[in-house]
């Protein structure tokens, strides 16, 4: 009941806002409706915490013997923190969005934010892969329509195809994974995923996250600083992260070499994305890399046999990232607020991400573990850089915006702190304390060197002062070319053109004058085939 109430609190205000905007627009009233709906839904999630784990069956496809399917939700300690995080982000988006004078904030945008958050919750709460596949498909279609509407007048709609294409493939990989899983357990839910299907599930999630294979469909898309855009970017990521967290820990018992290949790809993706994150001009430009880097952390946790702990990196992606990306305009005076967001990423003992280190590093000290610590340091370094470089002093802010803007950011940090206390049993742990220590040490060393050499990553002086800059730049550029996958697209296009030529030739033959004769020939062949195969023991 509470669950349906939460969904109602998101969708009903969304409908109300749309109607009110069409009939009698009123900015203040609309804002209040949006914020009230989202806040009540957010508070409602804390009631859910009292009943975990819980299951709600929404629709059962009957007869059971035919479909073996129910559209059902399951809320447990894996997805509950994500639910809280998504709702916190939704509120923060509405709170901060109204203070941005650079964008055309309208109540329709808030309605979209609420509706999208509701849809997101559906996929996050899915009990089984089939419910998730349905939720993914619907969310993708809604997002597609929304993005097309957003970009309609910009002439950038063509880029949407690549984004939707990746989502479509990931949905079908999820369906394929479900088909494989069903051979073991008909109507399986997330607690019954067999190890034989887990790799396919991992690939489905990896595709959606942009990690397996590494792809940045959003890389060249029109960057928008609107808050709703952040929700659009995070929306496919969240449910994929939940899927990873639900994978069985026996994933390593599968084909070892295949797991190793995926692990190498994941580590490479993390390394590349975090290096790119560190060196972008601003946080907005680095956003796709932030998402891919932390998604790779989550994947690596699953590959190390601790998928459940991947949630801390997922939460860092959403919450720590959310604070930074919503810190726009980046007002110098309040930059201490997003700095607090690092609580969710550093992983120092007894903080939210502390339990993530053991999953990320695996057992013992390995090369992958060392690389991951370096990646972590680069992410922290980049985060600090973007905040410390904030030099903006906004003067024309409305009175209400002086409260709502920081309030939105504080709410996310508040959520981190709450999750740090009640997120899941044993959330307060020391973890692998030296992981964060080494990472912080690397950041400090980097900061010291930067200060000492008076370097600025994006400045011209950096090129001259930094040793091996040109080599590093070349390597990064080469990696960028490789990971952009443009070469794969070029090969695919070439193959497609050749295939089209061959198909064109056959078409001419079959649809030409001699077509009927060819049909009779095929008929004869078919008759022979059937005659020789049918009836044979």
């Amino acid at each position: 009941m509470i669950l349906l109430g939460i969904l109602g609190l998101l969708w009903l205000p969304a409908i109300a806002l749309t109607i009110s905007q069409a009939v009698k627009p009123n900015f203040a009233r609309s804002w209040f409706i949006a914020i009230a709906g989202a806040s009540l839904a957010w508070l409602g999630t804390f009631f859910l915490r009292l009943y975990l784990p819980m299951e709600v069956e929404l629709i059962r496809w009957l007869p059971e013997s035919l479909y073996h399917t129910a559209i059902a939700f399951r809320i447990d300690y894996i997805n509950w923190p994500y639910i809280v995080a998504i709702l916190a982000l939704c509120i923060a988006v509405i709170l901060t969005d109204s203070s941005r004078t650079s964008t055309n904030t309208t109540p329709t945008t808030w309605a979209a934010a609420l509706a999208l958050t509701g849809l997101n919750l559906i996929s996050v709460m899915s009990r089984g892969p089939l419910t998730m596949a349905i939720a993914w498909a619907i969310t993708d279609l809604v997002e597609l329509s929304f993005m097309l509407n957003l970009l309609r007048n910009s002439g950038e709609t063509g880029k949407v195809t690549a984004i939707y294409g990746v989502r479509l493939i990931s949905t079908f990989v999820l369906v394929a994974a479900t088909a494989v899983g069903w051979q073991v357990t008909a109507g399986l839910d997330f607690t019954q995923i067999p190890p034989t299907a887990s790799l396919l599930f991992l690939i489905a999630a990896g595709l959606r996250l942009g990690v397996l294979p590494l792809n940045f469909p959003m890389q060249n898309a029109l960057e928008s600083r609107r808050g709703i855009d952040l929700l659009l970017r995070f929306s496919p990521v969240v449910s994929a992260l939940v899927l990873i967290a639900h994978l069985p820990s026996e994933i390593l018992v599968l084909n070892q070499s295949l797991v190793s290949v995926i692990s190498i790809l994941t580590v490479l993706a993390a390394l590349y994305a975090s290096a790119m994150w560190l060196t972008r001009a601003d946080a907005n430009e680095g956003r796709p890399y932030w998402i891919v880097a932390l998604s790779a952390f989550a994947l690596q946790s699953a590959l190390n046999g601790e998928p459940e702990h991947s949630r801390v990196w997922g939460l860092a992606l959403l919450l720590t990232g959310g604070v930074l990306f919503l810190f726009d305009p980046p007002i110098r005076r309040i930059r201490f607020i997003p700095l607090l967001g690092l609580i969710g990423l550093l992983g120092i003992p007894y903080t939210l991400a502390a339990s993530g280190w053991s999953a990320l590093l695996g057992e013992g000290v390995s090369l992958a573990g060392i690389v991951m610590i370096i990646c972590h340091a680069m992410l922290v370094g980049g985060y600090l850089r973007y905040i410390l470089e904030a030099e903006s002093t906004v003067t024309g802010l409305e009175k209400y915006a002086r409260i709502t803007y920081p309030l939105g950011l504080i709410l996310i940090i508040q959520t981190m702190l709450v999750l740090n206390l009640v997120g899941w049993p044993d959330v307060l742990t020391i973890g692998v304390w030296w992981g964060s220590l080494v990472s912080i040490g690397l950041v400090l060393a980097g900061a010291f060197l930067t200060k000492k050499l008076n370097l600025q990553l994006t400045g011209d002086g950096f090129k001259a002062k930094f040793p091996f800059y040109r080599l590093g730049h070349q390597v990064l550029n080469a990696l960028r070319v490789v990971f952009s996958l443009d070469w794969i697209y070029a090969i695919a296009r070439w193959l497609f053109a050749r295939l089209s030529d061959i198909a064109g030739f056959f078409r001419q033959v079959l649809e030409g004058e001699a077509g009927v004769l060819w049909s009779l020939f095929f008929l004869l062949m078919m008759a022979i085939l059937i005659y020789t195969q049918v009836g044979q023991p």
Partner: protein, 478 residues
């Protein structure tokens, strides 16, 4: 002669109305409304008619006979067979009512009603080989619709006629050859020959790969609305007819290798449809490949009959029809609004800026046919994919390739629709606001319906499981 029979209501009555429609065919709206009303009434009555054919109306009892004897042959529509009849008339109604605004042949209402009645009679006639003659009659009548107005019959139509006619002797010969061989041993050469003839006959009728070459030729020249109707009826009726033949003849269904052969034919047809669709640059031609893919899935479902394929087939009939309806409606509407669009990719470039709802509807209908979760065809597709994966590992990659091919076409089309040409050669593409509220509502309704069917299949699709009831030998549990 007993006229209180089910064939009188669902075969002779619509034929009678078709004759009446010939007289008023020039009054297009009137004939459409008559065809719609008759089709809807026949569909509704078939749906609610008591299974024991004992109808009580206004306190009076009417006991209908399920058999009508004519020239010593029987037309039999049993109570359990009425679900199929209802479905066929429902399709006829949908295509008549929604197609009212398109400038298709004036004869469409008349012929659509006749074709529906003839398909019902093909499914009802005993002995079954007479169905071959009725199918030939349907093919001949369809030619009138398939030939564009004021034009000569093209090569596609001619090939359709030729290959469908070639199927006729195969079915007739098989009927003659296997008369009275029920008691023959299953390995008998006669049975084998009979089975081969029947399977070849059905392959020609259904236009499975590689006998499909006329389909895209025909689709390119024919109005999408007419094409989708003719081949939806043919595909749906022939699938059920194949089930009937398999149910009726134990020697055929017990023959080793019949079902695996069907599975392979189905899988290869789906694969060919998917791969060939991916290479297309004309949306009209793609309609043919969509039909091919769906035919493949139908044959695969029948091949997987003991693994739940029958149910998958029954569950796919309505959503498939709705997806065809949406695709053909959208395409016809686009060509009605902008006659300069010939369905080729260059002519569709940037259409989203001009007709956004039509563009999205086109994509959604294709996604539904692809089997995207949450859309109409997904529940049936999922059953087939799961059954196929459970049976052998060979089918999964082939079906995966077919899905990938189809998905590739959808993405290419999407890219074409969304990408605006920086130097537009056609000034007409810059127009805006050409979609009326009514058109938008209809397109949204189709999408919503597809979503509802996909999310609530047990509500919308379970009644169609009744179509399997007559096949008590093939599907003992149904």
């Amino acid at each position: 002669m007993n006229l209180m029979t089910t064939p009188t209501i669902w075969i002779f009555l619509p034929v009678l109305f078709s004759l009446l429609l010939i007289l008023v065919h020039r009054l297009h709206k009137l004939s459409v409304w008559i065809a719609c009303t008759v089709s809807l009434l026949l569909a509704v009555v078939a749906m609610i008619f008591p299974q024991n054919l004992d109808l009580t109306l206004f306190g009076r009892n009417f006991l209908f006979d399920d058999t009508f004897l004519i020239l010593n042959r029987a037309l039999i529509i049993t109570g359990t067979g009425l679900k199929t009849v209802a479905m066929l008339y429902l399709f006829s109604f949908l295509w008549n009512i929604a197609g009212m605004r398109f400038s298709v042949s004036r004869w469409f209402p008349t012929i659509s009603l006749t074709i529906t009645a003839l398909w019902v009679s093909a499914l009802a006639v005993e002995p079954f080989l007479y169905a071959a003659l009725i199918v030939e009659l349907i093919v001949l009548i369809s030619v009138v619709l398939l030939t564009p107005r004021g034009e000569q019959a093209g090569s596609g139509v001619m090939r359709y006629l030729v290959l469908q006619t070639i199927a006729l002797p195969f079915i007739l010969l098989s009927g003659w050859m296997v008369t009275g061989i029920e008691s023959a041993p299953s390995a008998s050469t006669l049975i084998l020959r009979g089975a081969v003839l029947i399977l070849i006959g059905f392959s020609l009728w259904l236009a499975v790969f590689p006998l499909h070459t006329w389909l895209p030729m025909l689709a390119e020249k024919t109005h999408p609305w007419v094409f989708s109707f003719v081949f939806l009826m043919q595909q749906s009726s022939l699938s059920i007819f194949l089930l009937k033949v398999l149910d009726q003849f134990a020697w055929l269904r017990n023959l080793t290798g019949v079902f695996p052969a069907m599975q392979w034919v189905g899988v290869l047809t789906v694969l060919a449809g998917g791969v060939l669709a991916s290479l297309q640059t004309k949306v009209n031609r793609v309609l043919a490949y969509l039909i091919l893919i769906e035919t493949g899935y139908s044959v695969l479902a029948i091949g997987l009959i003991s693994q739940g394929g029958g149910e998958a087939l029954a569950l796919s009939l309505l959503p498939r029809a709705l997806a065809y309806l949406q695709y053909a409606y959208t395409l016809s509407s686009i060509q009605q609004i902008a006659p300069e669009i010939d369905g080729s990719f260059p002519s569709l470039r940037g259409l989203f800026t001009r007709l956004p709802f039509h563009s999205i509807s086109l994509i959604v209908s294709l996604l539904s046919l692809l089997g995207l979760p949450a859309l109409g065809l997904f529940p049936a597709r999922r059953m087939l994919w799961n059954s196929g994966a459970g049976l052998t590992s060979h089918y999964t990659p082939l079906l995966g390739l077919a899905v990938a091919g189809m998905a590739l076409f959808i993405l290419r089309l999407m890219d074409t629709l969304l990408t605006t040409d920086p130097n537009p050669t056609s000034p007409t593409l810059s127009g805006k606001g050409e979609e009326s509220i009514w058109q938008i509502l209809v397109l949204c309704f189709f999408t919503l319906l597809s979503l509802l069917v996909g999310v609530f299949p047990h509500v919308f699709l379970n009644p169609f499981l009744g179509i399997l009831e007559p096949f008590i030998h093939l599907l003992p549990s149904s």
